[in-house]
């Protein structure tokens, strides 16, 4: 049994190297498919990350009335913290508020340079455990007597959530579509290889080869092709992604990116496994109708 597997592997390698050009073509097709798949996966992961980041920035700002003393403030904080869906509550003094605004305005902080005194009130920053509850929490917070005004980017919140959802769905749809396209391409690649050896398969059957004997080298070849193609794709994506991350970190430091090492390790092994699986399934399917002799 072991011997015959080794033999099938030898045959697979032989059949791949013998039909050099055709194997190259298959390899290229698999690589391109998986490459696109990998790129989409990278984009999706990062869009997801961005969406999460955007979502997590969905915070509620509660401005306090003048003259709320520290004790009343502390009581309020505890009450808010007890609300459902609230992750954390942070006190921001008027001075901290101005400093944060200055930072947020970045190059345009000159707007604030013209101010003669701090116009901002004290406030609380409320971060949410579940961004979808922003409206409900904000309404409850506004009902406290110590709170003068509540801000949470009304309207923006809903839009942001819609965009996030759309991005996730679109990403998933693209990945699925490309998965199907990849399976299709791979199965057809192998089917064409089988087609080229149709005569040989028919002869094998006639001299008494079992289906499994005939299938083995094709399945092995399929797996090999799938894995080599996946490795190529993974390599290219790794290089490209590293370059991109380096570029983004240098030029757009405020854009959140998934770190290459963390993303690439599961992506690489995933691609390899997927390549092998696709090659196996593809070759298995491709052979079905040729075995009926």
């Amino acid at each position: 049994m072991l011997r015959s597997w080794a033999q099938a592997l030898r045959q697979a390698v032989q059949s791949i190297t013998r039909s050099g050009l055709m194997s190259l073509a298959s390899l290229a097709t698999v690589s391109v498919s998986l490459l696109v798949l990998a790129v989409v996966a990278c984009v999706a992961v990062n869009l997801n990350l961005m969406a999460r980041e955007l979502e997590s920035q969905l915070e509620i700002r509660a401005f306090l009335r003048d003259g709320v003393n520290p004790a009343a403030r502390q009581a309020l904080i505890e009450q808010i913290q007890a609300l459902e869906g609230v992750r954390s509550v942070t006190f921001i003094s008027k001075e901290e508020g101005l400093a944060m605004m200055r930072e947020r305005l970045g190059e345009q902080r000159w707007i604030l340079e013209e101010l003669e005194e701090n116009p901002l009130p004290d406030s609380l920053k409320i971060e949410l455990a579940d961004p979808h509850q922003v409206v409900a929490v904000a309404e409850k917070v506004a009902a406290f007597p110590q709170v003068e005004k509540v801000r949470y980017g009304q309207g923006v919140a809903e839009k942001l959530l819609a965009v996030t959802r759309a991005i996730r769905i679109a990403g998933l749809a693209m990945v699925l579509l490309l998965m199907v396209a990849t399976v299709f391409t791979l199965a057809n690649t192998i089917r064409l290889a089988v087609e080229a050896r149709r005569r040989e398969i028919a002869i094998m059957k006639l001299v008494g080869a079992t289906d499994w004997f005939i299938r083995r080298p094709f399945v092995m070849a399929g797996i090999l092709l799938g894995m080599v193609g996946a490795a190529l794709a993974a390599g290219l994506v790794y290089m490209g992604y590293q370059y991109l991350v380096r570029f983004l970190v240098t030029n757009l430091p405020f854009v959140p990116v998934a770190p290459p090492a963390e993303l690439m390790q599961p992506l690489g092994s995933g691609l390899l496994a997927l390549g092998a699986l696709l090659g196996m399934v593809g070759s298995w399917i491709s052979l079905r109708r040729y075995l009926r002799v």
Binding site: R199, A202, M204, L206, V207, G208, A209, T210, D211, F213
Partner: protein
């Protein structure tokens, strides 16, 4: 060994049967010639034996097995008990002569040692040992035919079916192949030969089954070719 019971064969898409109402019994150890004009149904008859085709009606029994009843997974093991020389050779063009013959052993998962022992012996018998490393597509028509014969006998089958095994051969080589088939027949193998080689049929006086238009018109022990 081989028994046809009321066999009719109509190929899909055809209206005229290629074989009709065939009843035939061939015993273990017999040597039978199938003769008949072009298109009479000789190849079809052999195809039914090794189950390349299934009968449209009737039964074909080979070695006690009803071939139409064989499970898909058993067909390979059934075919391994037979040796077949196909009319169009069915060699793998880009493999060498050795590989083509070894092929019949490899599919049975035979050991390397057995392959190295049997293949050269079979090639020796058909006079192709010195061309063992030439590719099949580089052989002359007659040489291909001899390789096909070598492949059919390399597994020591209990039944050999040869469809026109000497059509591309000069008389000398043709006689050599025929003597080979007679030899293995003498060692107990059943041999069925479809042929147009009148001279040989007439000289050997073996059993002759004559087909015409898909039916058996003659079946004689020690028969002759019997056509113009």
């Amino acid at each position: 060994m081989v028994r046809f019971v009321n066999v009719t064969k109509i190929y899909p898409g055809q209206t005229k049967p290629s074989l009709q109402g065939i009843n035939l019994e061939i015993d273990r150890g017999e040597f039978v010639f199938i003769v008949g004009p072009s298109g009479a149904g000789k190849s079809t008859l052999t195809r039914l034996i090794y189950r390349e085709e299934l009968p449209t009606s009737g039964q074909v029994w080979v070695g006690g097995i009803n071939v139409a009843k064989l499970k898909r997974s058993q067909v390979p093991y059934f075919r391994r008990t037979l040796g077949v020389v196909f009319q169009d050779f069915k060699l793998l063009p880009d493999r060498t002569v050795f590989e083509n013959v070894a092929f019949a052993l490899e599919v049975t998962d035979a050991s390397r040692r057995e392959i190295l022992r049997r293949v050269p012996a079979a090639l020796e018998l058909v006079g192709m040992r010195d061309k063992a490393n030439q590719r099949a597509q580089e052989l002359s028509g007659g040489e291909q035919q001899r390789v096909a014969v070598a492949r059919a006998i390399v597994r020591n089958p209990s039944l050999v079916i040869a469809d026109e095994p000497t059509g591309n051969l000069d008389p000398e080589n043709a006689w050599q192949i025929m003597r080979l088939l007679l030899n293995i027949n003498q060692m107990g193998t059943t041999v069925i030969v479809a042929t147009h080689a009148r001279e040989m049929v007439d000289a050997l006086r073996k059993r002759v089954v004559a087909l015409e238009n898909g039916t058996i018109v003659r079946d004689e022990e020690r028969g002759v070719y019997g056509y113009a």
